[in-house]
């Protein structure tokens, strides 16, 4: 038996998640139903995709505050264009547009960070305001309530459909596939490519990364472009799920997403973090939020619980690391 101190962060986190799920199930059997799990998975999609982007930035030793603004921007502009074009609309085209727009905005961050070598926190704090302000000031503040029919059909598209004994039909939203795809791509990138290992190297020792010939600025362009692209993807999926596009959505949730990544073992000092850990972190937060509703905890108290979980788990992992 290995001593607990040497267990991987992901293992500990998984144990906590399982214990939590068992506990909630004992109090409220409604938790362990297929319908609830489908709901939980669907609720993890947007936060999950955003957290994967944040994970990459955190590993590289940076921090990004602007990704929710990018997501909102890409979401709203894509929906606005799709609606203006009229007709059926195309989800694939919308996704390409949103991802492209997100990537473009991410590259603006990269120009300041990789090109001018400005601190990532300050740059993204600034661009977050610029992107969101620009959206509200020049593009629109009104909620787009009627999305193209193709979007609406997509939002209803489910796998594993089945009819429960009560006559209710449940299924798993197809948007979960977007999270799976994003997780696989980010996971392969981080673990199996030289670029991914260079991102870890950059987070571990930026000066040394430069010295062994890693083109730091180029890597940073890729990182922030990718984060922007993932944010665009998350944004559009959010709109599809909500069946409307609200330019004030998403912005303000960036700390939750950061918290999920940090909960999953990503270090805010760079160089550490994994896709598995991040997904567990997201899952933990989603389960916690959802089950508190099931347990009848008032919504203000939910924030207290989630906040406390983040502080406690980070403290535990910090202690484990120092010992």
């Amino acid at each position: 038996m290995k001593p607990p101190g040497s267990w991987r962060h992901e293992t500990v986190l998984a144990a906590v998640v399982v214990a939590l799920m068992v506990g909630i199930g004992l109090v409220n059997p409604a938790f362990w139903t297929l319908a609830n799990f489908f709901d939980l998975l669907k609720a993890s999609v947007v936060t999950g995709i955003l957290a994967l982007g944040v994970l990459i930035v955190l590993i590289s030793g940076g921090i990004d505050i602007s990704f929710t603004a990018i997501a909102a921007f890409a979401m709203y502009v894509t929906c606005w264009i799709s609606v203006s074009l009229g007709g059926e609309g195309s989800v694939l085209l919308g996704l390409l547009l949103a991802v492209g727009m997100g990537t473009g905005l991410g590259l603006i961050n990269a120009c300041f960070i990789g090109g001018l070598r400005l601190p990532t926190l300050i740059v993204t704090l600034g661009t977050a305001g610029v992107f969101h302000g620009f959206l509200l000031a020049f593009i629109g503040t009104e909620i787009i309530n009627t999305l193209p029919p193709a979007y609406v059909r997509f939002s209803r598209w489910q796998g594993f459909r089945q009819t429960l004994s009560g006559g209710e039909t449940i299924g798993l939203s197809v948007t979960v596939l977007a999270l799976v795809a994003a997780a696989v791509i980010v996971g392969v990138l981080l673990r199996r490519t030289v670029l991914g290992r260079s991102i870890y190297a950059l987070g571990g020792n930026p000066e040394a990364a430069h010295r062994i010939g890693i083109r730091v600025a180029r890597v940073q362009f890729l990182i922030y472009g990718l984060v922007g692209g993932l944010a665009g993807l998350a944004g559009l999926i959010h709109a599809v799920m909500m069946r409307n596009a609200n330019p004030s959505d998403l912005v303000g949730t960036e700390l939750n997403v950061l918290a999920a990544a940090v909960l999953g073992g990503a270090s805010i000092f760079g160089g550490r973090g994994s896709v598995a850990g991040t997904l567990l972190g997201v899952w933990l937060i989603v389960v916690l939020n959802n089950s508190l509703i099931l347990l009848g905890v008032p919504s203000y108290w939910q924030r207290v619980w989630v906040g406390a979980t983040i502080v406690v788990s980070t403290a535990i992992s910090a202690r484990r690391r120092s010992s």
Partner: protein, 519 residues
Amino acid sequence: MAAGLESPSIPVPEGASPGTPFAALHGLSKRFGGVQALDDVSLQLRAGEIRCLAGENGCGKSTLIKLLSGVLRPDAGRIEIDGDSHERLRPIQAIRLGIQVIYQDFALFPNLSVAENLTLPGLVEQRRFWVNRRSLRPAAAEALANLGVELPLDTTVGGLPVAGQQLVAIARALRQRARLLVLDEPTTALTHKEVEVLLGVLRRLREAGVAILFVSHKTREVLDLADSVSVLRNGRLVAGGAGSDFTPGSLAEALTGRSVGGLSPSPRADLQESDRAGPRIEVSDFSVPGGCSGIHLQVRAGEIVGLAGLLGAGRTALVQGLFGLNPQARGRVRVDGREVTPDSPEAAIGAGLAYVPEDRLSEGLFLNQSIERNIVVSTLRSLRGRWRMLKPAGVRSAAEAGVRQTGVRTQTVTQPVSTLSGGNQQKVLLARWLATGARVLILNRPTAGVDIGAREEIHARLRAFAADGLAILLISDELPELASLSHRVLVMHRGRVAVELEGNAVEEGNLALELDGLA
């Protein structure tokens, strides 16, 4: 860690036949603002030759290395590699040409495994896209075997001791088909035994036809190792020649530009009989979990007691425990007969202890703050006047007194500590602790990274402080320093005092013997 040094096979780099010039620097100059960091420096580096670049801190050594590795571009001059002239090298180009620098911080990735640290640079250089991390292990193992060292491949580098990290850095450089290996002050953080291992590795690399530029200000190592020597002072080459052309004295003189009064250490001050009364500090059955255990020691007023040992022998753990930096420390500590419980630095300072830590930059000094603030920070309480406000005049005069007492070379006490040389920074730290009225001064490697001139001066000050009645406990890896300063030396091993040397037995040869016996 360095077992089996006998018969490793070091891959001979292509095109390396001993004696052929690999690189030549022609008239390199570099200016930073108002400072001429490097002024018209030319030198040659040959395959199979160890050239030592000797110079004190701030002489331009680092600038020269950065020009050679392409990190900086020269204002004037050019670098010739294999006969091709370059006005400026880019880092990746320098690597491709076979120039590898082992920086003082090793430029490793603490969060990655040993195997990845060894192999990632090659993958980056070859512009590879995919990486199979398992397949990296054999290549990494081979790189270490070539050096004749064994290290765990899957451990993250941040978890290795300093000497292990350095070997990883060297193994990595060789994997990159290094034809010129530049080592920047490679022995600063190593113990005697580890230095010997390193010098052995370098000699074998020389046999294999690698050109080596060994940057150091330690005359002993330079003379021990060098085929040829270049001495840099204030950015200019002031002396050069074959290693055998220099004596310790002539090299030291070239380094400092003044006669250092021979290298023979000044004799220890004899302890006065009257000082032998009672111990200033008496430690009994002192233990720090995971650090040291069952330590008994006493230091009398006026006495300097050296602590020798290998890295990880528990010396730092012991003194940190005494200074209240480890709440798990247990044992009895008496200062001037009074029982003290060092459970915090505040309590230790109150009891008359002072501790000058090993890493003055990160643990000791507030680099961006003024000399004045750095000196008075430990005595702010006593400098308060009416309304408990600080009196600027009192602060100033206290700081100036400290500067005078320790001989900090500076115009004003208001300039930031970061503008001082390493030796003068160390004196600022000493001044801070003397201001507390300490009776026991604990020093951890006080002259690491300090040049010869300043070192002699610090030694003289320490002797004077002891003569004034201070008890001094000194951790050092520099055997000459221990031998010339200490009245007694305790050799620690695995957390315990293994040997105690006293009187005439405190001598370099004996210390080296004792330390080698432990490994």
